[in-house]
Structures are given as C-alpha cells and as structure tokens.
C-alpha cells in the first residue's frame, strides 16, 4: 500500500513536471514579451534564475535534513540530506553553465570575476562539491552522517550571502530584478518566471523522490545480500 502510494506520488510528480515544463516553454517563447534592453537573449532568464533558486532550495533542504541528523539523531535523514545536496550541485552546475551562456550573449564575456554574485555562487558550488570528497573519505555510519551534516549546515550560511551579494555590492553588471519594490518586470514576464520556477521545483521534487527510492533500494539490497551470504 505504502509502496503503491510512493510510486503514484512519483508518477504524479513526473506528470506535473512535464506539464509545467510544456507550459513554461510555451510561455517563454510565445507569450513573454522581448525585453527592451537585453533583447531575445533575456529569455535565458526564465530558466537560469529558477534553476539558481532551485539549487538554493536543494541546499536548504539538505541542510534541514542535516539538522535533523544532528538534532533528532535520525540516521535515515542522512541519505535525504545527501540527495538534497547532490541535486543542489546538479542544479548549481546548470546555473553556472546557463549563466555563462547568458553572460556571453549579454555582456560579451563567459565569466566576469569582478561580479560578486557570480564569484559567491561559484564558491557555494565548490563548497558543496567538496561535501562529496569529505563524505566518501569516511566509512558509512554515525560518524560519517554527523560529519556530513555539520558540513552541509556550514554551507547553508553561504546561501543568504550569495543571494544578498548583488544587493550589497550594487553591481552594475548583474541586473537586480527583485527589489524591495517588487519584481522589476511586466506581469507577463513575472507569470512566465513563476511557471518556470514551479517547473524547476517540481523537477527537483521528482528527482529527489526517484533518487531517494534508488538509494533506499540499494541499501535494502546490500542488507539482503549480507543476510544471504
């Protein structure tokens, strides 16, 4: 019963993700107006920013589960934290690649070292890449879960710093779209952005459940193999 519910949930999430992606693509290319200052290349924004926000959400989720490992002594939350961080790194890599392409199209450069937000996002990404080196250098068990959890929690501090960097540095290179006066875009652009972000969050939820199921199945099989040995 529980397994059927889990399978149905993954199937429902997968279907929702596909529907949201289809809607997002249609809105990006057939509904959202072309930006007056950046032109057609501004359409990269509708995937790039939601991917970046989703990677923050993944790292945040990984940190929340890490907190549960340390606070509630829940060893099962360790794998959930790991999957959150893993997906955060995948979304982070996509943020860097799509951002680089957008930078080339808009600014004429693949990367600008003088932009605080770019550099801080790279630091956050590399910090979480090192998480895997730490994790796999320790044998599985309580010690590994605790060390990984502490590391994941340290990294989450970088998220608000990375998010606020653009506002603190008053960078002229990286555009500030969301200010204290609300989103600086038309209603059509904002709707397209919201649908794209919902699609990315739904993709995260789907990938999270599929990867978590695979990890748990792997662990069960390992246990069964040991019992049958």
């Amino acid at each position: 019963m529980g397994r059927t519910l889990a399978q149905n949930r993954v199937a429902a999430l997968g279907a929702l993700t596909l529907a949201l992606f289809a809607a997002s693509i249609a809105l990006v290319f057939f509904y959202a107006p072309t930006d007056a200052s950046q032109g057609f290349s501004q359409r990269i924004f509708y995937f790039h920013v939601p991917i970046a926000l989703t990677s923050y959400a993944c790292f945040g989720w990984g940190a929340w589960k890490a907190l549960r490992v340390l606070w509630k002594r829940e060893l099962s939350a360790d794998v959930e934290s790991y999957v959150g961080v893993h997906l955060g790194v995948v979304f982070g890599a996509l943020t860097l690649i799509t951002g680089s392409i957008w930078a080339r199209a808009s600014w004429g450069h693949w990367w600008v070292w003088g932009d605080d937000q770019l550099v801080l996002f790279l630091v956050l990404f590399l910090f979480y890449c090192a998480y895997f080196m730490l994790r796999y250098s320790v044998d599985p068990g309580r010690q590994r879960a605790n060390m990984s959890a502490v590391y994941a929690l340290f990294g989450v501090v970088l998220i608000p710093v990375s998010f606020l960097a653009i506002r603190l540095s008053h960078s002229l290179v990286h555009p500030t779209v969301f200010t204290s006066h609300g989103p600086q875009m038309t209603a059509a652009m904002f709707l397209t952005f919201c649908v794209s972000w919902a699609a990315m969050m739904s993709l995260f939820a789907t990938l999270y459940h599929v990867e978590l199921t695979g990890k748990r199945l792997d662990a069960s099989l390992r246990e069964l193999r040991e019992l049958l040995a």
């Binding site: 693509i25 690649i97 799509t98 392409i101 199209a105 695979g214 199945l217 099989l221």
Partner: protein
C-alpha cells in the same frame, strides 16, 4: 588563401544553447537512472536465485 571571417552566434543561438544544456542534462539523468534500475534488477534476480538455491 584566408578563411572567411566567422560571424558571432546570434542571440537565438545562445538562447537555444542554454535551453539545450538543461534538456541534455535531464536526458543524461534519465539515462543514469535507467542504468541504475537495470543494475538493481540484475542484483534482485541474483539474490532471488541465491535464496532459491538455499531452499
């Protein structure tokens, strides 16, 4: 003879490249999960055989 000068990619090519990267990553992820499922299926079959052999 000098080669003809290459024109820089147009804006839509950059947009297409950015969206393509995301879809290729998604396809790669599906392929990796597919391979993992096949490996798990093989392992389950092996364990079933082992359990049967034990009676």
């Amino acid at each position: 003879m000098t080669p003809p000068p290459q024109s820089p990619p147009s804006e839509w090519q950059y947009v297409a490249a950015a969206y393509l990267v995301v879809f290729v990553a998604m396809l790669a992820w599906v392929a990796i999960i597919g391979a993992k499922l096949q490996r798990l299926q093989r392992q389950v079959a092996e364990l079933v055989e082992r359990a049967r052999a034990r009676g």
